[in-house]
């Protein structure tokens, strides 16, 4: 039995009213999780080849609009549906019940989730550029639905998001219609065929409009300000889902349009400064700055959700960087990073929200020592940060290794150094997250905190298994990455089960893991051979300098974390982009006030006179010239 795209889309449309119907009850929510499983199975049955074409197609305004899921879209679609399924499961049990009691509309949450999945499927399966834009806009607005749910500070973040999103959407629309004017058609084939004949200035305009528009959703710089708060302040499952996959739609669209349709060759042709800097270099540098700056902004955050949100922005930079390298290794690394990031970002957000669920706060200065209280969540977060930091044996290592390797091979030492700096920031800041939440001194008020309910821990732990398994055997995912590369017209990566085996480099994670585990094993053996002395004490039973410390004394180094480092780099935190955004908004406000002043005339007929005179002058001037 093979799947059909129409059935999948139908399933996901039907899911929307079903979600509205079923979401309020616990059983209903588990049924909805089942619905995601069914969608995932259906998607898996479709298979990662080309050819899953929808029978539904429209002729709209002379453009035929249809849907076809190629290997690239399939890869993203699998991640999307799975992320939604995990998020739905996370909220299905106690989380949902308690939050519904606190006033959250589960109905809207699940509807929003399903609408998002549907919108993303419409985008990912787009068979032409009109369908692409339809999916793009639907995705943008569907995201808003989830962001608005939490209320409070989420509203302001969502408003900011939608202004960015509409701006991006309008740039895409502009690019789309300039493409239509240049190519005469919006079918992928026709556009790809016409692009080489387009003049340089038109190609510049088209490419920039598309790339800028799409990168708003990616939150690459300078459009990075909206994302962290918008994702962080959403309800837990929404945040996990959005953080895991939503921003990657931008990457998908950039890959599709800039690499598949316009083509790397054309990007190389667009020189910014004589023939020194072309658009592709520019994109790589933008990507690398997106990887660095948000990571260091993340380091400064005191809200765990925001910290992760900023990391989400930074990790997007890695993906884009890998993708624009456009060689087999780099682009595979970028695409693989999409999958990897989705898995561990979901884990991390789920763990943070599990902590919020139990303690009521995500403030890193008000947590600590929860490791014994919530060991499973701790384990999940540990695995998650190992993945995020890009350390073996978790999957984050593999993709980052591939990107580094590609940078070295492509002869980009500066970019390489820059990414290493970014990784440094990542390691430091995720340690801050883990330490301030789970390690150190337990707060008195958290003494009775229990582990999160199983409905929340199970999804995290399953994802942990995924992170570990795909870290050990990345070949499982690379198979589909290679197919996606082929769909993009790039050279596919040569992979083996344990990693890469190509002239460009060899990595076998099975060996790496084996050695790592062996190292741990030797350590453990040594420890137990030496007597294995350890004593279990109460967590509040602490002393320092020979004095017992009462539990109400704070002696944990959590506020002003990394004070030494921060002292060095503080001058760099200027908030220039936030300032620029604010300046833009207030300039805009001033212009708007001026425009309003146009309508504040004491004498209503004033403008009739001025307008008539000016227009008549223009007419006469026209006659003379």
């Amino acid at each position: 039995m093979t799947g059909s795209l129409d059935f999948l889309l139908l399933l996901s449309v039907v899911g929307v009213p079903l979600a509205a119907l079923l979401a309020p009850s616990v059983v209903g929510r588990w049924l909805l999780v089942l619905l995601y499983v069914v969608q995932l199975v259906e998607l898996a049955l479709l298979g990662s080849g080309d050819g899953a074409r929808s029978a539904v197609s429209f002729s709209l305004l002379g453009h035929s609009v249809g849907w076809q899921l190629d290997a690239l879209g399939w890869f993203f679609a699998m991640i999307t549906v799975a992320a939604a399924g995990f998020s739905a499961a996370y909220a299905a049990g106690e989380w949902g019940t308690l939050n519904a009691r606190a006033g959250l509309s589960l109905r809207w949450l699940y509807v929003g989730l399903q609408v998002n999945v549907f919108a993303m499927l419409v985008l990912l399966a787009a068979g032409d550029m009109v369908a692409l834009f339809i999916g793009w806009e639907l995705t943008s607005w569907a995201g808003l639905l989830l962001m608005l749910l939490a209320g409070g500070e989420a509203i302001a973040a969502a408003r900011r998001y939608i202004v960015y999103a509409i701006a991006g959407g309008m740039m895409v629309l502009g690019g789309l219609l300039m493409t239509l004017a240049a190519a005469g058609s919006l079918q992928f084939d026709a556009v790809a065929a016409a692009i080489p004949t387009v003049g340089t200035s038109a190609l510049w305009a088209i490419t920039l409009l598309f790339v800028l528009g799409f990168s708003v959703k990616m939150a690459t710089m300078p459009f990075h300000l909206w994302q962290a708060p918008a994702y962080a302040f959403s309800p837990a499952p929404a945040s996990a889902f959005l953080g895991a996959i939503s921003a990657r739609m931008g990457l998908f669209a950039i890959a599709l349009v800039a690499i598949k349709l316009i083509g790397i060759v054309q990007l190389d042709r667009l020189y910014l400064y004589f023939d020194a800097l072309n658009l592709r270099n520019l994109l790589a540098w933008v990507a690398v700055f997106t990887a660095i700056l948000p990571t260091f902004v993340a380091m400064k955050q005191n809200d765990a959700r925001l910290l992760l949100g900023w990391h989400g922005v930074g990790q997007g930079g890695y993906m884009l960087l890998g993708l624009v390298m456009a060689d087999s290794l780099g682009s595979a690394g970028g695409l693989l990073h999409v999958f990897n990031h989705a898995t561990y970002q979901a884990i991390l957000l789920m763990a943070v929200f599990a902590v919020i669920h139990r303690t009521g706060t995500a403030d890193l200065n008000r947590l600590g020592g929860l490791v014994a209280r919530m060991p499973l969540s701790f384990l999940a977060m540990l695995i998650g940060i190992i993945g995020l930091a890009g350390l073996p044996p978790m999957n984050g290592f593999v993709s980052k290794w591939m990107i580094y390797r590609a940078l070295i091979l492509e002869g980009q030492p500066l970019l390489f150094v820059a990414t290493v700096i970014s990784t440094l920031g990542t390691v430091l800041s995720v340690y801050k997250l883990l330490h301030n939440t789970f390690l150190g001194q337990l707060r008195l008020e958290h003494e009775t905190v229990k582990e999160a309910p199983w409905s929340m821990t199970i999804p995290m732990l399953v994802l942990c298994v995924v992170v570990f398994v795909t870290g050990v055997a990345p070949g499982l995912v690379l198979e589909y990455v290679a197919a996606a590369q082929q769909a993009l017209g790039l050279a596919p990566v040569a992979f083996i089960l344990g990693g890469i085996d190509s002239p460009a480099g060899t990595l076998d994670m099975i060996w790496v893991t084996a050695i790592l585990l062996a190292g741990f094993g030797i350590g453990a053996v040594l420890f137990y051979l030496m007597g294995g002395r350890s004593r279990r004490v109460h967590q509040l039973d602490n002393y320092a300098g020979g004095h017992f410390l009462t539990a109400d004394v704070r002696y944990q180094y959590s506020d002003n974390f990394y004070a030494g480092l921060m002292h060095r780099i503080r001058p760099w935190y200027r908030g220039s982009f936030a300032w620029a955004e604010e300046a833009l908004v207030s300039t805009f406000g001033a212009i708007a006030t001026a425009a309003r002043g146009f309508f504040e005339q004491a004498n209503p007929a004033h403008w009739v006179l001025v307008g008539t005179t000016l227009i008549t002058t223009w007419v006469m001037w026209h006659a003379l010239v």
Binding site: A602, N603, A605, H606, V608, L609
Partner: protein, 151 residues
């Protein structure tokens, strides 16, 4: 010669128009604005009726089925007739509005009427009006000049 006489007429028509427009734009008194409007309309009507004028032609009235001499174009005359009546209707309505504004706001000053209108719209909409940048809030810091004549 003919064009010069034409120019005189044109200047008259356009002059009336522009005087009327200027009257509307420059005056603050509602009633004067209506009067100025009447002048402007007269100018436009004059231009229209000039459009049908022919040298050495008679009024377009047939006597006993004959066309005694070249007649002027009757169409602009009909148009002007219509335009005048339209103007009368509009001016009458404007006057009723002026009467009502005077009753309600007690002023014929456009500036004041407008301010009160905006205040009323703001009040019904429950919006606090934007604060003016020009006018300081609170009392004037200096005492008013004794005579109060010069300010």
């Amino acid at each position: 010669m003919t064009t010069q006489i034409g120019l005189v007429f044109f200047i008259a028509a356009i002059g009336l128009c522009v005087i009327g427009i200027g009257g509307i734009v420059l005056s603050r008194n509602l009633f004067r604005m209506v009067l100025a409007l009447a002048i402007a309309e007269a100018g436009a009507n004059l231009l229209l009726v000039l459009a049908g004028y022919r040298w050495d032609a008679v009024a377009p009235i047939l006597s006993a089925g004959q066309m005694p001499a070249p007649m002027v174009d009757p169409v602009p005359q009909a148009m002007v007739l219509t335009a005048i009546v339209i103007g009368v209707g509009v001016q009458a309505l404007a006057l009723t509005l002026v009467v009502r504004v005077k009753q309600r706001y007690g002023t014929l000053d456009m500036q004041l009427a407008r301010e009160r209108m905006n205040a009323e719209i703001d009040a019904t909409a429950d919006v606090t009006p934007p604060r003016s940048q020009e006018r300081p809030r609170g009392e004037r810091p200096l005492p008013a000049p004794a005579g109060g004549a010069h300010d």
